[in-house]
Amino acid sequence: MQRSSSPEIEIDTRRADTVRRTLWYGLVVVILIWCAVIPVFDGNLSLYFAMMMWVTLATGLNFIAGFTGYMPFGYVAFYGIGAYATGIAVKVLGMSVYLAIPFAGVVGVLFGLLIAPTLRLSGIYFAIVSLSLAIICQRAIALMPEEVTGGSLGLNLGVVTVREHGYYAMLLILVAALLTASWLARSRLGKALKAIRDDAEAAEALGVNVTRSRLYAWLLATLFPALAGGTQAWFTGALDPQTAFDVLVTAKTVIYAMAGGLGTVLGPLVGTVVLVWVDELIWRAFPVLNNFLLGAIIAALILFAPRGLIGSLTRRYPRLRRYIM
């Protein structure tokens, strides 16, 4: 049988992979440097912190929603639990905040492990149970004794932590999330997950251990929001059950990730940066109808670019795939 290809194309695919990787790591370095010097120039620290946090959350969500197709509507639970684990570790256990953040990550992953059986459910049932669990967590924390969680008033960490350090911690977590995403996309686990997303039954018939692969993705997806939630509590110096478990956190995360394109590494990053920025612009220009325009943008994205900015672009122009991770 004759080979139906020219060797040039063969070199090209291999090179495309190198090009993609170089572009991606270059971008990560640029982000790292850019965000690192912001406090020095006294930039808008809160805006940049928010941006980094949302990118981390959206990237974390991508691990489960983008790579396996599960949509955890109660994603905020991990963020809230991370925030509270940090708060309790610092205020009640007297732990240093630098140790409290990894502790929060561990707690988040353990909670993910605890509710991993929910992955048995599919579609809307998984979504509803996930949402309900987030609400149960919120109410449970409000019910706990005030000496531990501060009840419905929450906890105040401001006195014992330094805000700028919280900013840099977020930057480190962001970079870790981005590198994890690019590692996952290239790894065998990532391929197994994408296969599961596209057709779980076929993947299993080809020897993929669906339950185990999904669990790994789930645990990765629970780690980052817990870290981000803890760092948010550190940066703002306060936390309470209403904001720590706000359903809007899930909704925004999903929308940012989806706007950029779930299932791509670059998507959640681009989607978040664009939408947070647009949100900020709208907020300044039209303070009254801010949410109306945001809602309209979301609706338009879903209707006209269902795979998000990056996903729709690479669908229209498949050649771009060689540059986009």
């Binding site: 197709g69 459910l121 579609g123 449970a140 019910l143």
Partner: protein, 306 residues
Amino acid sequence: MNSVLLINGLIGGVVFGAIYALIGSSLNVLVGVLRIINFAHGEFILAGGFLTYVLLTYFGINPLVALPFAAVLFFAVGYVLYYLLIPRLAHSDEPETASFLLMFGVSLMIVSVLTWIFEADVRPINFSFDPINVLLYTVENGYGEGRDAKVLVPTARLVALAINALIIVALTWFFYRTLPGKAMRAAIMNREAVQIVGIDIHRLSATAFGLAASLAAVTGVLLTLVVPSIDPNGGADLTLIGFIVIALGGLGHPVGALAAGIIFGLVEQVSNVMLPQAAAQMLGFMILVAVIFFKPSGLFGLERGR
């Protein structure tokens, strides 16, 4: 004394339960027939409530008159909204998730418009019947010697309950006795098959969307009778209740939503008087999670493969 509290809880449970059943039924039409996770459902209900508020406050129109008006108006709105939004959803990889996000966007828009017009305050609904309350039951010396405990229920709640019951009867008749109703039930079971037997799925879907919007608006009108105030930010809670009810009752199970609504209403209202507030709210969700885990087809659902 405790028995009076309990009776109050039970009556409240039935009144709220009937409302929840109605929310569940309309949401069920969307989830079942259209596979749309309508995150804006609570806002549809609020829109009906605000229409009642405007008609009552500025034009002095009785909510009972507003009710048929809201029903027709929102049917039309829903019908048009379907053609504007839903057919394009078929282009996405996961239409269910996409529908959730789309409707989340819509809900942001509705809330934003409502708070723009009415501001973020809770608005009172100044409407009551004469007499204001109906005395249902008296426990002699219930609060100690010479002080009778009385079980009083606002007339408006009883009226709302009666209308609610009528709507549910009419809805059941519609689903089981009329052709469009039967077609919708068929579409819940198998959307593809319905198209093969010659039903225009878009017209059926638009009708279903109109019906759901209409029912949601009517629920909003009835809700102003049950709770005489309206909050532009209260939509998400109503949406959540809708999802709880349909998960309990079984997805796309028209009668299941009814029983599930009443059960959830009873649990919520009785635990409200018996437990701290946060614990009462937790209980409802814990029941939900348990039901989905141990009987994923809902309390009344038929076992289906999958």
